[in-house]
Amino acid sequence: MVRYFTRLRVRRVYKWDGTPSSFDRKLKTYFFDSLNISVEGQPGMTTVTPGQYVLIEGDNEDNPFVAKLLKFFGDESNQQKKALVQWFVRVCEVPHNKKKLLGRSPHPQEVFYYLGHTCDNEIDAESILNTVQVQYVPVDAPFPEPGIKDTLYVKLSWDTKTFKDLDPALMQDTPVPASTPPRLKPASPCSPPAAALVSLGSVGRKMPTPDPMVMRRAGSVSRTRGPVSASKAGNNEAESVHSAAKLSASKTLSTKRRGSSGVTPGVRKKLQLSIGDSPEKIMSRKDGLCELLDEEVDSEKALVTKLNSSPRSLHHGYSLSPVRSDHRPPNSLGGYPLKPTSIMLDRLSPTALGEQDFSRDMLLGMAPLILEDEVFEAGLPTGTAKTPKKRQATPRRKYFHEKATTPSRRKDSAMTAREPSLGVLAEEDSESSPMQLVVTSSRSKRKSAQLVASRIRKQLNLMGDAQELHSDDGDDDCFTPSKKDLHHSSEEDLEDEEVSKSEETAGKTTRGRLRRASTTPARTPRKPPSKKATPSTPRTPRTPRHATPSIPSRTLPARKPGNVLEEARARLHVSSVPESLPCREQEFQDIYNFVESKVMDGTGGCMYISGVPGTGKTATVHEVIRCLQHASDMDEIPTFRFVEINGMKMTDPHQAYVQILQKLTDQKATADHAAALLEKMFSNPAPKKETTVLLVDELDLLWTRKQNVMYNLFDWPTRRHARLVVLTIANTMDLPERIMINRVASRLGLTRMSFQPYSFKQLQQIITSRLNKVKAFEEDALQLVSRKVAALSGDARRCLDICRRATEICEHSAPQPSSTGLVGMSHVMEALDEMFSSSYITAIRCASVQEQLFLRAVLAEFRRLGLEEATFQQVFVQHRALCRVEGLQPLSVSEGLAVCQRLGACRLLLLEASRLDVLQRVRLNVSQDDVLYALKADRA
């Protein structure tokens, strides 16, 4: 906290950088290129330009808003500084109920591209805090592991209802500014040097331990470019590269890696220059693969030939993947433990190889790399152009080697293993389409990782729309298999056999779909093995810190209701959600209108709902919220957040703050801190804000002596910027007058609603609607129940319970021939008796002789004294007399006391503390008439 406060206290000075670049005459606004932010007391100045990602001061100190600047403008007098932004939404800003749409646990630094319309895009430029890195991560790629603190990741877009895959184009539409961050943070490895390829480059380069996927993909890209160039430039070059490759396997590997890393920075250039530059790399990689796998030099040639388009084999390679994908699902379903092991196996052999390579790599150090480079240059027709780039790449390569030995090793091995199949796939694509298209498709693979087709199109200026489509196809196709290959590298050897088998498989498109379908299950295995090793125990494994406990799931599925009565019973259970809420239409409409209007206007308000238990208060409000949420999904009203707290479900009124905060922002705080945060949140204007609907159930339990909890709850909606709607529910109608002090009651306002107890007709309707044509009750039986309950309490819960009990009774007495299988009057009567009959009379009837005598003695004594209270001693005298009358042997005092205690335990008598012994006072807990009635009936 302290940190943030101090930081906030720092004054920032905002200044336009340079002169206005343009002027909008209509709006009288100037547009600026950049904004200088200098922090007082600190040297240095931050320059913010449109296109950059910035943190914007919001209501939440810990998590400032994230946005991308689009434009800067100010008015003529230069008084106001405004900016247009594109918002990003943090995980914690996404409503709770929507989070599950994500289908996975969100990354702590994940943000979502905001597509909603409820937020104002225009902000005060002076609320900009700082710049931040936002990088695009392709949907299927994992999040980079050791996230740099200031970097946020975008994967999906969020339009307040659903998550969608983010179109990378959106991220790219302002390419130039994207290049600026490096200027600000040149030291950070994340800074993308090549402007055009921000995201691509960033993924490739940013993380010290990039995901193997990315690496591989990059590698495959460069490789797939191979065929093109190969066919172009001929085999000679390739062979020359071979020789280089033969020098050491490690070299090839490193080249490969370099290829992957090196490709990224200069991709565009390379592409533009010629496609021919990559072939050697590809070749060499191929060679490396061959060497590693087969240890045969000759195989290179075979590969080359393959490369040079033997469509058949390529097809094989392709069709292989579907086969694999077929393998996958059972695997993934069959239990997680399997996968890691298989991975381990797969990895074992490659790692051994990779290790060798590595050691060699290390020994050779820089020299081989340079050597390589030179070799390449020599072999390349367009070498000159490329060399600098490659050299740039080399240090990076080294970096990889040294820093991430283990991961990279694994990557290496994985890569080697994966390469062939991937390559084959790419080639296959290339075969099926013209040369250029090959390139696209191959690149589209990379693209699928990072770039949009349109971008590529721009770069190459070659392709038409159709091609683009194709490339997209390729995208999908190539994407999935790569993942699968992870585990099946060991199957590489079997490839040929499989290929021959699967040769006749169906058309590409279907295959592609197949694979795509299988992607989802296959996505998990890419997580680190530790995560994968989910134990098969029913409890879902989670890190203890964020433990979300769950009741272990049952081993057997719950049985479905069998016959009509069971069906009816299930429907009558209070928990079953009814399709609609009959008899509360008016209340529903009122609440709906109230909340809707508030949400529409963006204002706040309070409403107090009262009613005796079981009259559907909470259910109605929930129904309203459900409808509203539906409406907001339909875009009829703005979105809103719904928070519910229940006074009974917290231990202390002040916990309300904690729960509200937790449900709003997902953070935990102490009660005081939470109160402060909420106060801030609701009182400060924030650029984007959704209306919050807060439901406070069992309001009376939030009562404290100073009533500050209630006060705050009702005060927030009155703030100008709060946009808070508070619905409160309690049982008593006059709660505001009774327990609230004036200032609280006045803030609550006069919007009241009272839920009347149900009348018997309403109850009947409720039951009928619940049963919903399941014929289980006789008409008059229903009427009896509803009349009885309505007369007593009007509690719908009670009514449903009675009906449920009646079905049970009916079921048990089913074998009677007279019964029609329906719940009849007799059953209902029995149930009613069970629920309503006072147990005292039966209890007295069943009491022992001495106990009954004692009760009579009590009555007699009361009559004698004229009081409703007597000491045990007095009663006992009576008791002895009665005993003599009845001809029973009188009890001793201790026995008499025991009798008395027993009655007291049943609460037929109220007793004083027993230490008073014979002097303890005795009182009846039942009416005297009841006792008399019971005793008399007993006698008869």
Binding site: R554, S575, K649, M650, T651, Q850, V893, A898
Partner: protein
């Protein structure tokens, strides 16, 4: 075997006299276990009427059904042990084995704990999660917890589409529902199972025979025959029947019957169980103390149960001595005081108000804790009681 049976180590094969209740409860729990239907029920009955026995029988029968066995989680809570919600929540967590989820995380606050548990229960839905049986012994004591938070939440879960639970409360209080707050009450399903024995004495006697009879699979067949025959003979014996009838009249409680039977058959004492009695103190008292008690009795007769103090007792005692004290010496006041204090220690007399410190001992108001008849009875039994003391006691006025 008998000892085993009577000492509650073994459940009876079949609950007697409460078959319908047994069936009802079993059916209810079975539905929770199999169908995942949430329920709540109260078992009400006086002490010793077999509530726990019934529940245990039901649970045993329930667990015998195979698919239920691995399916159900049980949480046993006792109102005497879990005296507040915090402890109860901890206990629930422990019994649900949720700690391994919690890990080594220290549960900070009560609130956190509650939220945690509620979340756990909310997670499940009707069909997927295992049903949990919450068994609340001494249910009435849970109703005394602050705000009845625990009950509210448990019953709320049982009334909403969350993890299936069955809340079973055991209590001996007939008015337990009145203890519940109205919103808690509304959430309770109002199913009550009453356990009230309405056996006639004939049935009672049959039960005794049944209880005492050896099971037919007893090892020694001959002994078994003899034993059972002798039991039947015994039960026809007049004195035995009398004893049993007397006991039956005072209570129909089976537990005390068991105690009685145990006493009879293992100690061979056919004596009634009025063992503990205040009267038994009296023969052990000195004559002086006896005199004091008599004096007190007279005082309370005169003043109709009003409290007295030492000074009054002493005066009364003096009067008695003056009139007809042939056999008793004139005791000093401190000696009498001593005797008085001894009586107080034996709790035969008690001070009316608790504030013993302020008032001088002699003027402290006391009350006699003995009944008129008790004193007379004790006086009869008193060995070598001076006749004048006896007369004094019998005389209406001092």
């Amino acid at each position: 075997i008998l000892r085993q049976r009577f000492c509650h180590q073994r459940l009876p094969e079949k609950p007697m006299g409460i078959e319908s209740q047994h069936k009802h409860l079993l059916e209810l729990l079975r539905r929770t276990a199999v169908h995942g239907e949430s329920n709540s029920v109260l078992i009400v009955g006086p002490r010793g009427s077999g509530k726990t026995m019934l529940l245990k029988c039901v649970l045993r029968d329930l667990l015998e059904v195979k698919d239920v066995n691995k399916n159900v989680l049980q949480v046993h809570l006792n109102g005497l042990l879990q005296t507040d919600d915090r402890i109860a929540l901890k206990e629930i967590t422990r019994q649900l084995n949720l700690e391994n989820v919690v890990g080594d995380k220290v549960f900070g606050s009560f609130a956190e704990n509650l939220a945690f548990l509620l979340e756990a229960l909310k997670k499940g839905d009707r069909s997927s999660s295992r049903p949990v049986l919450f068994i609340l012994d001494e249910f009435d004591l849970f109703a005394h917890h602050k705000n009845q938070t625990l009950l509210y939440n448990l019953l709320d879960v049982s009334q909403s589409a969350q993890a299936p639970v069955a809340v079973i409360g055991l209590t001996c209080r007939l008015d337990v529902l009145e203890l519940l707050e109205k919103r808690v009450k509304s959430r309770f399903s109002h199913r009550q199972i009453h356990l009230l024995s309405s056996l006639s004495f004939r049935q009672y006697l049959d039960n005794v025979i049944l209880q005492l009879s050896l099971p037919p699979d007893f090892a020694d067949a001959k002994f078994f025959e003899e034993w059972n025959d002798s039991i039947k003979v015994l039960c026809k014996d007049k004195s035995v029947v009398d004893v049993l009838e007397k006991h039956y009249n005072s209570s129909k409680d089976f537990r005390s019957l068991h105690l009685l039977l145990v006493k009879e058959f293992f100690k061979n004492i056919l004596q009634h169980n009025s063992s503990y009695n205040l009267c038994s103190f009296i023969p052990g008292l000195s004559v002086l103390e006896l005199c004091l008690i008599i004096a007190m009795k007279h005082l309370s007769d005169i003043y109709e149960g009003e409290p007295f103090n030492f000074q009054m007792v002493h005066n009364e005692f003096k009067k008695f001595l003056q009139r007809k004290s042939q056999s008793i010496y004139n005791f000093d006041k401190p000696v009498v005081m001593k005797a008085f204090e001894h009586l107080q220690q034996l709790e035969l007399i008690k001070s009316v108000d608790g504030s013993t410190g302020k008032i001088h001992k002699e003027y402290q108001l006391m009350k006699l804790m003995l009944d008129h008849n008790q004193i007379m009875e004790a006086l009869q039994k008193y060995p070598q009681c001076p006749t004048d003391v006896k007369q004094w006691a019998l005389s209406a006025f001092g």
